[in-house]
Symmetry: D2
């Protein structure tokens, strides 16, 4: 049944899960843990939950980890867990962006599967080095482009793949937010602080949310980017990363697209929206109402597809 | 943190949870188990998951229950669990309606707390007998009017309670569905079969969804019903319970209201909506977009309240 | 072409139109004149625009009527215009409700066609007397249930008539407003004053807007009312007419319905909405977005019908 | 009163209006005539309604023009009307784009005011030559960027001008349509034929609807464009003009923007939308629901502004 995450897996026990990052004051780690419980296929048993050993310990205790499965450092954790017979099978990396690749490498080297937050890396070079390592190691590496998990996004992708929209001509993706309209990074807001620090984040709106919009655009359309032209701006005084990105896209099949990612657009909380148009129809999906997918076969009435 | 269900409870271990009903082919039991995992304050360890002993056993095994915690009968379960030192602390009753009160009584007698699905009982008399028992026993009895858990419904109730709408004049509640537009109960659909069997359900749309709309109306408005006039109809040929209910409500403070519950309104999946109007403002909430609450202070612009 | 109101009529000249009511300070008369210009099939040439002769004269002059076509009294106007070779062919009666029938009778007696505002009459008896007169006279009598002119309402009616919804089971009509939430009739607001004066209006929300909702319900569904139960309330202290009406409807074919008309529901400007459900599908229309009609064939996706 | 277009003008008679274009088979001319009737400040009395003398005559007769006020040619019309004492005071030019400037010049030379459809001209040079002429002649020249007449657009402009949004950072404008998704210009659809003929239209989506989006963006934001980068595409095989335009905008104050105009986006009829964001708030308006304006003051709830 759809509501229960697992069935046969139940017989064999849950997958042993560790986590890097996600301690007190963090945001996305708790979402990972909640999702793991919903799925019911994971058992969370080990963590290096913070770059501060004290906070890692306190966070781990609060979350009910055994003391010997709480680590001060992800390198130490990777080695120790790899040695244990009951060691973790997979690790979730939910740190600031600059730790993604180094931490992932430590676990991959140790033969442990990796679930890594986006964006993948700070630079193309760093990403390529990870790719090279993955080619040598037999582990699963998953990047959490979570929006592609929505049933209606899967539906949209299937419809495109089946040709219900015809050859794709246009892909319009946007992800406006407003939480960085003012310089809250200066007032100690932890999430804003690391996300606007280029050393930790590698970039601003483009990496934080533009990646989501871009991944969704490609995931649904099935297209590969050929060229792009982008206008990246830092509107807030003193901000060191982009807080608005306008981009025009050209795909290899000749399709065109636009991508807008912004963190300074008042009135938008998480305004992710994707529109894809082909010769035979168009679809429209917005994250605020994720269970609806609009589909218009050209020349016919608009239809509202739901999970049913 | 909001995303994690528990904190201090973690230190002391989770609440030991049992379940009556919710085996293979059931619907709402899986929702209870999912919610319990999200909350992370419960450990599901025992069950009488079906009125069929075989199905109960198979369901329990599939869900990972220990063999000695799978029961063929809820009476047996109540007694056995009450005797164990590690027995369940609370039971979720997720059966057809006719089992609600008998099962609840068995666990209440055994001193075990109860989470019971709505509607409470088949008759007023049955409900009163449960009430009498509860007055003698020191257990918590919770009825799952789940929609009242939405943050925006809590927000709405707070706003009414604080007088932001002024004295309430009107309460309009509706819950249209369409899944019983045709006589699917005759084709072996299990959910339809028991819900349209008056012996098991006690009634149709009024008990299944009308109760939700009514509870929400009272929960948010804070009003108590005085009088009502209802027009209950069975539109589908051969159906033994109502599949549409129109009702007019009069509350003790003089407020008026309407309630519509239907299972034969094509185009409505779970169209629960509540509107409350007072002398100073009005609110509007719909379950399909649960994180939005419309609020209009009289004479001013409509405002969209979100979880923020 | 749809945008131009007339074509062949153009050759023969426009229809000569007079008006009773609609002078300075009135509301709906100007809407009639605007609509007549849009249609381009009428020429507005005479009027008894106010019960005050001075205001009638001033209003007529302002609107460009010839002095001898401005009347102090509708009885005088009916007689004078009937005698002229170039007299009006049709009169629009846009007065408070108590004048509808007397004025209509005067023009009908004079052989002049009538376009009359709703509600028709103050009492059933008054309406019957008009009906009797109409049976004897060969004139067209039109009641302005204007909402039935929307293209999507025509579309809805056609769909019901063609059986696309199957036999109709449910008709839900509502028309909430909020402009009478407070007792503005006491502060000299002219529209509120006569509408809440039972001598002039004959009733409150039921006649002013409930009639619209009811007419639309019947117009689209094609059904005839059999019985009803209504709860009419005056919420505002000192108000002499109803400002909220809740009603349950039973139609002759066995269909059920609800009707809600309110002038005290903050946040609603002109919230007219109609939903009709049959065995094979449902439709949903709302006046705030008049060019959209939702249609769900049972078991299929919701569709958005537009004027195209 | 708002509903009546005129008041004092009434005393002095209506403005005498002529029209170039707008005969049988045309689209926008009828809209102009309808609008003129609604306003009630114009009297339509002369026209060169088609480039075909026969069609001009037939169209004029159908519209009730006097035979001597129907012209075969706009040059002849400009001269003849300028000589008459009762000649037109203003002409509406509602032709294909290539006739805009030549016709405008003819009437400007004759001292007659001009209401001209957009886009202004086929080339910048042509536009400049018109500008030069206008500097020498004392006539009013109005370009019909009609969307800027919506009350909510006026409201939006006022709010920006008053600083309610703070300094503007972002302007997102879009105007997707779908009517040219296929090559209907080849099947004799008159509107498609001239609009996709570069000799008559000067360009495709950019001129036909991109101009509307661009004008609205500037009109509301009060900003002046500094630079732009655009990607113009002809998706339909054999089409000689662009049917999709993606553009990135940079305004002189440092604001950024995006503009999307498309005629090949299935599911969009006239999807004009404008969003403007400043340091203090954001607004969102869409043409399909023109009487609504969303306004979010940063850090507060979204508000729905209506005409009230």
């Amino acid at each position: 049944m759809a509501i229960e995450g697992r069935s046969d897996a139940k017989q064999d026990g849950r997958i042993r899960l560790g986590m890097v990052g996600g301690g007190q004051g963090a945001f996305i780690g708790a979402v990972h843990r909640l999702a793991a419980r919903m799925d019911d296929q994971y058992e969370f048993i080990a963590g290096a939950l913070s770059s501060s050993p004290e906070r890692s310990r306190a966070s781990g205790a609060e979350l009910g980890l055994a003391p010997d499965r709480i680590y001060a450092d992800y390198r130490e954790m990777a080695k120790a867990e790899a040695k244990r017979e009951d060691g973790i099978e997979v690790v979730a990396i939910v740190t600031p962006n600059n730790v993604h690749v180094p931490a992932a490498k430590a676990f991959i080297e140790a033969g442990i599967h990796v679930i890594c937050d986006k964006p993948l890396a700070l630079t193309l070079k760093e990403a390529k080095s990870l790719e090279a390592l993955l080619k040598r190691k037999n582990v699963v590496f998953a990047l959490t482009h979570n929006y592609s998990g929505y049933p209606m996004i899967r539906q949209a992708r299937d419809m495109v793949a089946k040709g219900e929209l015809g050859p794709i001509r246009l892909v319009q993706a946007e992800y406006p937010q407003d939480w960085l309209t003012e310089d809250i990074e200066k007032s100690g807001q932890k999430q804003a602080a690391w996300r606007t620090d280029p050393k930790q984040s590698g970039g601003g709106a483009i990496g934080d949310i533009g990646t989501h919009a871009y991944q969704l655009a490609c995931f649904v359309s099935g297209l590969t980017l050929d060229e792009l032209s982008a206008d990246m701006t830092s509107f807030v005084k003193g901000r060191k990363v982009d807080d608005n990105v306008n981009a025009m896209l050209r795909f290899k099949n000749g399709a065109r697209g636009m991508l807008w990612a912004s963190q300074v657009a008042p009135g938008n909380e998480n305004g992710l929206r994707l529109r894809v148009y082909g010769t035979k129809g168009g679809i429209d999906w917005t994250q605020a109402d994720p269970n609806y997918l609009w589909f218009t076969p050209f020349g016919h009435e608009k239809r509202l597809i739901t999970r049913g």
